[in-house]
Amino acid sequence: MTISLRKGVSLFDKVSGPWGRAAVIAVPTVFLLLVFLLPFLVIFKISVSAMEAVYFTDVFTWADDALTIKIRLGNYLLLAQDSLYLETYLSSLGFAALTTAICLFIAYPFAYFMARSPADQRAALLMMVMLPFWTSFLLRVYAWKMLLANNGIVNNIAIAAGLITEPIPMMNTSFSLVLGMVYTYVPFMILPLYANLVKMDLRLLEAAMNLGATPWQSFWRITVPLSKSGIIAGSMLVFIPCVGEFVIPELLGGPQTLMIGRVLWDEFFSNNDWPMAASVAVVMVLMIIVPFAFFNKHQAESST
């Protein structure tokens, strides 16, 4: 990744003065504080509260000139003790990782050839990538149900063609779950990869070839390392939402496919145990944010 190291006054600073920069950064900062940090704190507060009928107990209470802080860690202890939660977290991470890997495997060649195709065809190809977004996400996931069911289109055709005699159970398995997630998230992998690959300087590949690298070597030594930022961006865009995905596991997954999103839903809406649900959510967010924060820090350091 190339990051300009030049320090100095940019045109932007000249035009807007020192406050201009702060003002522009402040807008997204305030927005994120309002829509992310505040709700997260509310959830966090709920997670360390107890339920009293339909109310949550207060964390801070002021009575008889004494400030009482009551943080209930019971839910977190339960999360640590009940192996089902741990298993579900690990299984969510596993499904998300598998989905990300498959998406990368499919998206990289696709983005590569899209970026290398004639400039007048790229717009059309890009449009095709985004075409699914024009119909409802739910509708598209339901369509997979129709395709994969035991009396669904795939099985019917296979039976009619004499390839199989009994329908292959595909719905509500890990297969259908991962298929659904890959299908849904693959554009999010393609787009950053394409944006990265399309601006690559092709003379670098000529330079590599000129120095004796075969096309395959040029690809691994030049193209892949230079598209690292696209790979990272695409992987994050796929991995993070997949970990907490609820709709696809609900519609395409089965009893064997443990996903934390479904646990979350059950705790909130079936068990009505909001503090427990909140703790599940807090752990999930931390589980994703902490490693990525470390990773980002490392990235920032190594690129200077």
Binding site: S4, R203, A207, M209, N210, G212, A213, Q217, L226, K228
Partner: protein
Amino acid sequence: MANVLNPIPVAAPADGAPFLQIKRIVKKYDDVFAVDEVSLDVQQGELFALLGSSGCGKSTLLRMLAGFELPTSGQILLAGQDIVGLAPYERPINMMFQSYALFPHMTVWDNIAFGLRRDGMPKAEIEVRVVQMLDLVQLKPYAKRKPHQLSGGQQQRVALARSLAKRPKLLLLDEPLGALDAKLRERTQLELVDILEQVGVTCVMVTHDQEEAMTMATRIGVMSEGKLLQVGRPAEIYETPNCLFVADFIGSVNLFKGTITVDDNDHVVIASAECKHYVSHGITGTPGMAVHVAVRPEKIEIQSTPPLASDYQSAAEVGFNTAQGVVQDIAYLGSLTTYHVKLDSGALIKVTRANAVRHTANPFTWGDRVYVWWWGSDIVVLTH
């Protein structure tokens, strides 16, 4: 320093044939000839420059040498071996790219070592070679830097080191100094030639900058519209251009349209609207033939009084090669002054004088009537 690099092991062609032979190379894109039947021989150790404006086919020719383009027809022989069928990565040819194409994610060291690693050279040898290259271009302290942390001049030297590291039989240079600013370019030209001579590699370079070609190259090939018009040493190209395009493209030139009236053994007379030209060397032409007379601006004398008989090259020229006009513009360029003179025929010519002495009083001013004349041996007659 001479022994820093081993001589490049090259199998010299047995019959003393040129090191690089380009034979009737053609490159067609659809129906357009990018390179139109170019044949060219380059000797071992030469620094050959392909000169031309953009789109003249010089870059296409270079890319065919590197193997990035396949010729439509023709042969390229390097040390007697036809290389047209070889992939770019199989050719013993390295290239210094325009604006360098350094690998941005690799350090200077890794950039230079890239080609050596592809050849599977043992690690210890790579180390020795890379250090040698860093020494050659004086970049040792920068080995661990990334390209974007270097200045333009330093990047240029990394590119050079990278292209020389594999000791190529042939080095291609694509506008090697094009990305540098004018002042740095002048210094780098000679530095680059020094390094290339030290290494002793045969070079073909492409440039649109005639000064760069003249300074660096042993021979120049001028290209236009896919054709190689003239090949020669820099002085040959400048003093004896073989066609209108070359005369006009290299330096500046005054052209007069005329007709041959006398064609004798020792001289030719050409009549034009300005004057009668007495050419004191033989040309190929016949009386009545329409030709162009070309005279370089620095070869023209200018003064406000008529020239004396002794000012001419020989008595026979008196009365020839002389015209009158009015000074229309004076451009003072420091080392030179260019006078734009409107001749009585209506033609506008350029005359340059070297300002060899400080504070010379300007002998003429705008609107002054002047005489211009030149020697018969300084005339170039162009038939096409």
